[in-house]
């Protein structure tokens, strides 16, 4: 049947983003976020077609430059670029000249000399993407800079939440786990607050940064209390590789205090949405039975990740002049 939607929002359809690079959620406007979501919605339809590809970015080359390990983010960006018909090259630090002492700017400028238009950067240093955007000509997309931001993850989380909850204004979202070492937490806090949601962070006090309440978030150290408060809970991975000294006695101890099990879910007498940015430590942050239950939207997050990244690449590429 033909649906005659009022889907012309003419004034908003023309414009791109207010920023030149996607460095973090902090410098995005609410309009930017809405525009990314609206575009991602269309791309979600595209990636469910028999032929999941559009020719928009045939003349664009994108480099995935990853100085830290990642499977799903790199795959998601690579697939997003390919679905837009852009060419993709992958660079990982483990098998590169970085080991021989090359600097970040030199590495990236060498890649750009091969006529690359956009760089997706993951780096262990906070601010790496912002630094690169000031010293190179390419469009930069931050795919995680240390413990600072991971904007596309926050966008796909909020987009997935909105599919389930509707408008996020006034909704209560909890972020649970390792807030201290997490770039996902910070980007999520910015993004959810811009969309009008209330945010609470929950975890052992050793994993909650001091002064986080200055961002306007609530803090809790009790899992059940948190779950009773929230509409949706985003469980973050315990990042063992970022912890120089132990922040809690043992993984088992953490799982007992902050791990979500189906027994806890049943005791709540209400349904909440369960999210996880992956990769899951099954039995630590979330038990297998919850991760695979209908409350979990973990695989929706992965699917939406491709659509969101297509939207970001597409809207930034629209600014490239030839």
């Amino acid at each position: 049947m033909v649906k005659i939607g009022l889907n012309f929002i003419l004034n908003k359809r023309m414009s791109s983003l207010s920023v030149d690079h996607l460095l973090g959620i902090r410098n995005l406007s609410v309009d930017d976020i809405e525009r990314i979501f609206q575009t991602a919605q269309s791309f979600k339809e595209v990636i469910n077609r028999p032929i999941k590809k559009v020719p928009s970015l045939r003349d664009i080359t994108l480099a995935n430059v990853f100085f830290e390990n990642s499977t799903r983010t790199r795959l998601s960006f690579e697939l997003a670029a390919k679905r837009l018909s852009a060419d993709v090259i992958n660079f990982t630090a483990s098998n590169s000249s970085v080991k021989k002492g090359e600097t970040l700017i030199d590495t990236v400028n060498n890649i750009l000399a091969m006529k690359v238009d956009m760089v997706v950067l993951r780096h262990a240093s906070p601010g790496a993407a912002s630094f690169l955007s000031k010293h190179t000509k390419a469009k930069i997309i931050n795919a995680g800079d240390g413990t600072h931001e991971h904007p596309t993850q926050a966008l796909l989380d909020a987009f997935s939440l909105r599919e389930k909850l509707g408008e996020l204004n006034g909704k209560r979202i909890a972020i649970i786990g390792d807030i201290l070492h997490s770039r996902v937490a910070l980007s999520n806090i910015y993004c959810l607050q811009k969309l009008g949601a209330e945010v609470l962070v929950c975890g052992p006090s050793s994993l909650i940064p001091k002064g986080i309440d200055s961002l306007g978030v609530k803090v809790s150290h009790d899992l059940t209390e948190t779950l009773l408060w929230c509409d949706a809970a985003n469980f973050l991975r315990i990042q063992l590789e970022r912890q120089d000294s132990p922040f809690f006695p043992s993984l088992r101890d953490y799982a007992l205090q902050f791990g979500l099990t189906s027994e806890i879910m049943e005791s709540l007498n209400k349904s909440i949405i369960v999210m996880h940015p992956g990769p899951i430590n099954r039995g630590v942050e979330i038990s297998s039975s919850v991760a695979d239950s209908s409350d979990s939207i973990i695989l929706d997050q992965v699917e939406n990740g491709v659509a969101i990244r297509m939207a970001v690449i597409y809207l930034l590429a629209a600014q490239i002049e030839r």
Binding site: V2, K3, I4, S16, K52, V54, S56
Partner: protein, 182 residues
């Protein structure tokens, strides 16, 4: 700006009715034919024709909307909409006869993109083109319509505006002639 009426409400209705009957001649009961309207304005013609075809046919034809934004050939070359309208084709077009529907045929570039976008949904057995207005002799590409509401001869700086009762208040087609001051 001077304007000239191409179709008044009465002629408009007659034209759409005639287009429906032309389609019926070729596609009979529409058992293997589908209508696909191009966003943003072709979808109004589809819904209008659907109203009329429903009165004649026992089962209404399958209809869909197709947006071509991602398939345009002028991305980043001029100020075009970046954010698309809705694409909504909830049936298979494999081995179907597809009638692409748009309000105005001008350079043919939209239809080229439309064909490209359509083929990502499968392989139709035949594709035809139906337009309300054909601005003839103005093509950039070798594309012609199979069903034409009305052909008009226009100059490049002129503009054809199709208004719809449900969105613009009245069914009407007008030609706007910009005065050039030279």
């Amino acid at each position: 700006m001077e304007k000239q009426v191409i179709l008044d409400p009465q002629q408009f209705d007659l034209t759409v009715t005639r287009l429906c009957h032309e389609l019926l001649e070729q596609h009979a009961d529409f058992s293997n034919s589908v209508l696909i309207g191009l966003q943003p304005r072709g979808i109004h013609l589809v819904s209008r024709m659907l109203d009329k075809l429903q009165e004649i046919l026992p089962t209404p034809p399958m209809c869909g909307n197709l947006d071509i934004t991602f398939h345009r050939d002028d991305f980043r070359r001029r100020e075009i909409p970046l954010i698309p309208s809705v694409t909504n084709i909830d049936f298979s077009i494999e081995n179907k006869k597809v009638i692409l529907v748009d309000d105005v045929l001008y350079t043919g570039r939209t239809i080229r993109s439309g064909l490209d976008a359509l083929l990502t949904f499968g392989r139709p057995i035949q594709v035809q083109l139906l337009v309300l207005i054909d601005r003839r002799f103005k093509r950039d590409l070798p594309i012609q319509a199979d069903y034409i509401g009305k052909s008009v001869d226009t100059l490049n700086h002129e503009r054809v505006k199709v208004s719809w009762k449900n969105i613009d208040g009245e069914d009407r087609v007008e030609l706007y002639i910009k005065q050039t001051h030279e």
